[in-house]
């Protein structure tokens, strides 16, 4: 397992933290190459050797991402809860699915999700390929079945052609697993560089003075214990409420997957890329304000009472993690159903 304890992390980050707090040459400006060692610049595409990202697969995946016929009702697509017009989220505390059922957890953004070390809040899927299958089959989400998905797709000649092109070496390319693979390949292209990457790449003007102050505070406060790597998070599990209990937290998190008592209240550390645009926050969308979310994290994870000034600076830095240039997604033109296509079941 990839699980890393809080202690272990602090052990890793300690040298970095002490570097930044003790280095006499370190004042306002943080050397981008040092920052890059903590985080790293996003790749153009989050590659996966076992699911190569080809143009044909990405194109098919884009169609399927917007395809409501993958759901039982033919109403809900991936994009319904991971809206690419809305930074990859639905902006709701927890999502609305089949027959308006309200789900238990906040829909994480699909942007940069492929960079994360595991998928879902509880890490029950190892990558986006495995993740993409989940919502289609979840009775509270798209409420479909593998058979229904395949039947619908096979009934539409344009999709059959697209699957053949995306999986040219397979004898039966239209499969549930390949649908998920194509969606995942598309998601692997949904990587959003930001001004922060330009900064790490050496462009000192990419961050404002306040954002640089915020970055320093983010590092020195210890946020980087968990929020590190190219995703600025998304690289480990962590207990929510490591130092102080989270009063409203009911969700047992990863424990529900492993049944290991040590995993109670443990969640994947979310990526902070685009965080300024993906409210509300936390596993159940409990908190709408990014300021409040930062303050909460400082207290329950690090045992620190951050001042309003520190919070303001950190939030300012987090704003530099929003996609820039803005993500440009062109809608597909979904092919029509045929008489063989199973009808919507709302």
């Amino acid at each position: 397992m990839h699980k890393v304890s809080g202690f272990f992390l602090c052990f890793i980050c300690l040298p970095l933290l002490s570097f930044f707090s003790s280095n006499p040459g370190y004042s306002q400006e943080i050397a981008p190459d040092k920052v890059k060692t903590i985080f790293g610049i996003v790749p153009k595409v989050a590659e996966n050797p076992s699911n190569p990202v080809t143009p044909e697969k990405v194109n098919l995946g884009r169609y399927l991402f917007f395809e409501p016929r993958l759901s039982k009702s033919s109403k809900i697509s991936c994009n319904s809860c991971h809206s690419l017009a809305n930074s990859g989220v639905d902006g709701l505390p927890t999502s609305i699915g089949h027959k308006w059922q309200i789900g238990p957890r906040n829909a994480p953004t699909v942007l940069n999700a492929a960079l994360e070390f595991t998928q879902f809040w509880d890490g029950r899927a190892k990558d986006v390929e495995e993740q993409a299958m989940g919502p289609m089959l979840n009775p509270k989400e798209m409420a479909s079945t593998k058979e229904l998905v395949v039947q619908r797709l096979k009934s539409i000649p344009q999709y059959v052609e697209m699957f053949k092109k995306a999986f040219p070496d397979e004898t039966d390319p239209v499969s549930f697993e390949n649908a998920a693979k194509a969606i995942a390949a598309f998601e692997r292209t949904l990587i959003t560089p930001s001004r922060f990457d330009r900064y790490m790449d050496g462009d000192l003007s990419a961050l404002s003075p306040e954002e640089k102050e915020g970055l320093k505070t983010f590092i020195q406060t210890g946020c980087i214990s968990c929020h590190n790597g190219t995703g600025i998070g998304g690289g480990m599990f962590q207990k929510f409420g490591l130092v102080h209990k989270v009063s409203w937290l009911q969700d047992l998190g990863r424990f529900e997957v492993t049944n290991n008592p040590a995993d109670k209240y443990v969640f994947k550390v979310p990526s902070l890329r685009n965080v300024a645009k993906t409210a509300p926050y936390f596993n159940n969308g409990h908190t709408w304000s990014l300021e409040e979310a930062v303050k909460t994290m400082g207290y329950v994870q690090l045992g620190k009472n951050l001042t309003d000034e520190e919070v303001k600076k950190i939030v300012s830095f987090l704003g530099s993690l929003s996609a820039e240039p803005p993500l440009q997604v062109t809608l597909p033109n979904l092919p029509p159903s045929t008489p063989q296509t199973p009808k919507p079941m709302p």
Copy 2:
């Protein structure tokens, strides 16, 4: 009122019909300029002098079209039922709205809607500007209120800026009516030329021989009595079941708006542009097959039992009305909410 009786129409079209059936020079090839007199080539933009289509307004309208915060739940946008990935429809018999309520009528495509002489199946809105207000306020659809829409929009600085630019001469530009005007302006750009327009413009190779046969059949059968003009429909009201009663029809149509007994079962004649991609058909999505829909129309409207061959030809022609080049819509990047933004109410 724009209502035109079936008799009056036949009177108008008779000379054209007799021209096509008696003209000795008329065999397979129909002279495009004659065809153009019945239909007409779509404009690039469906202008409205009282709501000028400016780039700023169209851009704002594109944002608002995809904006779920216009709905009470913050889940449903215009695009939810008029999906621009799906030829402007949801592909359901009747739409699913707030709290999964199932509406009474089939969602018509938003593509080319601005070309039609009136809006909604029953013509209760005179243009897309008026139409755009309806779903936001309908308790079964987006279930919002004017106040909530304005409160949400005014709470988001980026929208305030965009409204100022779209309505530069107004002192209080962020209004419910202006939101509808902006959405309408965007819709006025959702015009989809097709191969049929190229044909009418003189490119004889734009239609296949079977499609030309279908066009001839479409004209000679009398479909053009109602389906004429640039929308190939969308220009008049008509009783559904003019000659023969429609066995399954319950909806009283325009009667519900006017209370005039003559308006029972009267509906707006829908545009046939993109019809091959906007199943299911009729006011309640009763019929999934375009062949069946054509056969039904021939019988109940014209009293004709079309042969399978005739139906096939007409359907072939109708396929030439699909958008070409395909519509290319780039998603907006919706601005984040602020602490002042009223929360979702699912």
